[in-house]
Amino acid sequence: MPFEVIVAGVMVASLVLYALLGGADYGGGVWDLFAFGPRARRQRELIAEAISPVWEANHVWLILVIVVLFTAFPPAFATIATALHIPLTLMLIGIVLRGTAFTFRTYDVQRDDVQRRWSLIFSIASIITPILLGTILGAIASGTIRVENGAVTSGFLRSWLAPFPFAVGFFALALFAFLAAVYLTVEAPERELQEDFRWRALLSGVVVGLLALTVFILAKTGAPTVRAGISRTWWALGLHILTAIFATSAFVALWTRRYRIARFCAAAQVTMILLGWAFAQFPNLVEPDITITSAAAPPLTLELLLGALVLGAIVLFPSYYYLFRIFKLTRSGG
């Protein structure tokens, strides 16, 4: 397999991990906004406990996607950063406000009105950022970013200010909220809290399904080539079946209160969705003008980058496992 394809694969893998880990941190922010009922305070505390030790590490997956993109596929990065300047800038503001408001809340006065103010900024930023992230990915898939002689010719608005990218944005938000709710059922120490997040998970699971359908319908005109990829080829069928199996299993597991199984299935479901998109778009990095091969950096850069990625992974994965063992695996559900 050519190096550039492997590097592109690493990028997709990082994006999947960002969705599964960083995405769930945004989802936590969503549930912070929708914390209500007699246990609203406990819900917020649980969300904060779950996010605090890990969000900064989880956030780095996005940085990894970006640095691999601009190292291995510089023209693709230049194109995306130009055509999607506006949504990227808005997303950055969201990222800044989410992270800082969350931290400020922890270290500011523990008075209700002060805490509420930071919670509001934190949770609204947690909602807007995934929508923008999804919109950006949707625009990249839509085929409306056009490039001639290395210059973007499709302007700064057309590619993302459309129904399809925004549908993908809301879909991303729903997925992240779903993941967070499912994870929190496992991490909740008491039964009532588990129930709170169980029905939140079930509800957001339904929303995920509805939005998936909306995205698929809108893709007919909004992202025709990627939709064709999703609906025609043999492997797409396999991925569809897997997505459906995991989605159904996650639902059944939630229904029957098998939370660990639900967590695995929900994560697998999101992974399959992202892989399905990646395969459908292959070999295009930015539909339709930039391919993995046309944007690839020279072979030496790719070789060295792969070497760095392998070395980095050797340090990273044991450390990451250690982090999660300390804060996530020692806590048992129920």
């Binding site: 590490a57 956030h59 996005l62 300047h85 980058l305």
Partner: protein, 447 residues
């Protein structure tokens, strides 16, 4: 404001903001680890309290640093897409390595901040060491990429396009060693001085609080050693700039005429229209000696370069003077501290001087003033190039119109964050723990 100026302003503002948090992120973990290590060794609770207090401040600052750093990694493309399209394959390498260093930092910081009760003490200390090491490494990798912009290597230009790209050669560019050393030392010196200043201030109000004295000791050792070594690394950079970017060196010094045995100018204001630097104290042969190690060597002046490759001379020269002045002042305070340490170790009275504490308080912000002006020197001094001698900043800017909007937006956002951060840190400082001074005799027995 035209779009190029807006883009440059946004980049400058983002960097000026982020560098403060980045520098603290490099050095603060070292202070925490030293405090915690002293606690494990001496079992004096004051050091544990200290490590935990510092960790709280670091948590706030690290979060702001992490998100403002993310903004920068995107801004490279948002503002300078042509630069990244051109250079990504060459300097992406250090950024990728930085990605992993940042990862390690984030992971172990999580363990450090939230794992006090969850991991054994030695594992906790190890997490702190990992944060300190990976924080320093991430700084080094990013500065390597910046150094490449000053001294681009690792490729050949053919028809305006880079070919034969060698990212390793790009990382080993001639500016890399001096710049990374200078910035790493700067981070330790600046952070050490700010922390020392805060605790010196509290010690003035509460002279017998052992907590602040312990804190002051650690901060001064870290900041002071770095500040004493720093001028040597500065000399190293000046010599490398003289070789790789002679026009920049001329701007540092406000040197308009090419001159044999050029003087070192202290202060002064360059007049770019009249092409002379006025009101400077001139030390004969100083510049020739410092730049080339020979008082009779020839220093090329700005007049020998076409004006379209001149950086804005006045800004660069004045910033350079401020940086050097801050550095010298910090070195002197550090030497004073070293002398007091050596003389007053036994009676533990090294900190009992009103004037000494006052000097430390006054010197507290100097390190960060030096960092900001130092980056102004290197970045403005590289203009009009984004890649020195290869690509002009104006060629790299995005075609996106209306860039003044994101510039103003991010400026307002960052001012807001700065105010909140300062407010929260002041709250931390104000909640100063009371730790009585241990009796000297008891301490001896305990050891």
């Amino acid at each position: 404001m035209d779009d190029l100026l807006a883009a440059r302003s946004q980049m400058a503002m983002s960097l000026a903001f982020h560098i403060i948090f980045a520098a603290i992120g490099i050095a603060m973990p070292a202070l925490m680890v030293i405090a915690e290590w002293k606690w494990l060794r001496t079992k004096e609770d004051v050091y544990l309290t200290l490590a935990q207090r510092w960790a709280k401040g670091t948590a706030i600052l690290f979060a702001v640093g992490a998100v403002s750093g993310t903004v920068l990694s995107f801004e490279l493309g948002l503002l300078w897409p042509a630069f990244m399209g051109y250079a990504g394959a060459i300097i992406g390498m250090p950024f990728s390595l930085e990605g992993f260093a940042f990862f390690t930092e984030g992971i172990f910081l999580g363990i450090y901040l939230y794992g006090w009760k969850r991991v054994p003490p030695r594992a906790h200390l190890f997490a702190g060491v990992m944060v300190a090491v990976s924080g320093t490494l991430s700084g080094i990798f990013v500065v390597i990429a910046n150094a490449w912009m000053n001294a681009p290597t690792g490729f050949r230009l053919v028809d305006g396009k880079p070919v034969d790209i060698d990212p390793i050669a790009g990382m080993l560019n001639p500016a890399a060693f001096g710049q990374t050393l200078h910035m790493t030392l700067a981070a330790y010196a600046a952070t050490g001085f700010v922390v020392a200043g805060i605790h010196a201030f509290m010690l003035r109000r509460d002279p017998h609080n052992h907590f602040h004295k312990a804190a002051l000791g650690i901060a001064l050792v870290v900041g002071g050693v770095a500040a004493i070594v720093q001028p040597f690394s500065g000399d190293l950079i000046a010599k490398s700039v003289a070789k790789t970017q002679p026009v920049k060196l001329a701007a540092f010094e406000g040197q308009f005429q090419t001159e044999k045995g050029a003087p070192l100018r202290i202060g002064g204001l360059p007049d770019e229209a009249a092409r002379e630097t006025r009101h400077a104290i001139e030390i004969p042969y100083g510049l020739s000696l410092l730049a080339y190690g020979d008082p009779q060597s020839v220093v090329k002046g700005l007049n020998d370069f076409p004006t379209d490759v001149h950086p804005p001379v006045a800004i660069v020269h004045v910033s350079f003077q401020i940086m050097v002045a801050c550095g010298v002042a910090m070195m002197l305070v550090s030497l004073w501290a070293a002398w007091r340490f050596l003389r007053g170790r036994r009676d533990r009275k090294w900190a009992d001087s009103k004037w000494f504490l006052r000097a430390i308080v006054i010197a507290a912000p100097l390190g960060f003033v030096a960092i900001e002006t130092g980056w102004t020197v290197t970045e403005v001094g590289r203009q009009p190039w984004i890649i020195y001698g290869v690509m002009r900043t104006a060629e790299a800017v995005t075609p996106m119109p209306g860039l003044v909007v994101p510039f103003v937006t991010f400026t307002v956002l960052y001012i807001f964050l700065a105010i909140i951060t300062v407010f929260l840190l002041l709250r931390q400082v104000a909640a100063s723990p009371k730790v009585p001074e241990p009796k000297v005799t008891e301490a001896r027995v305990a050891v």
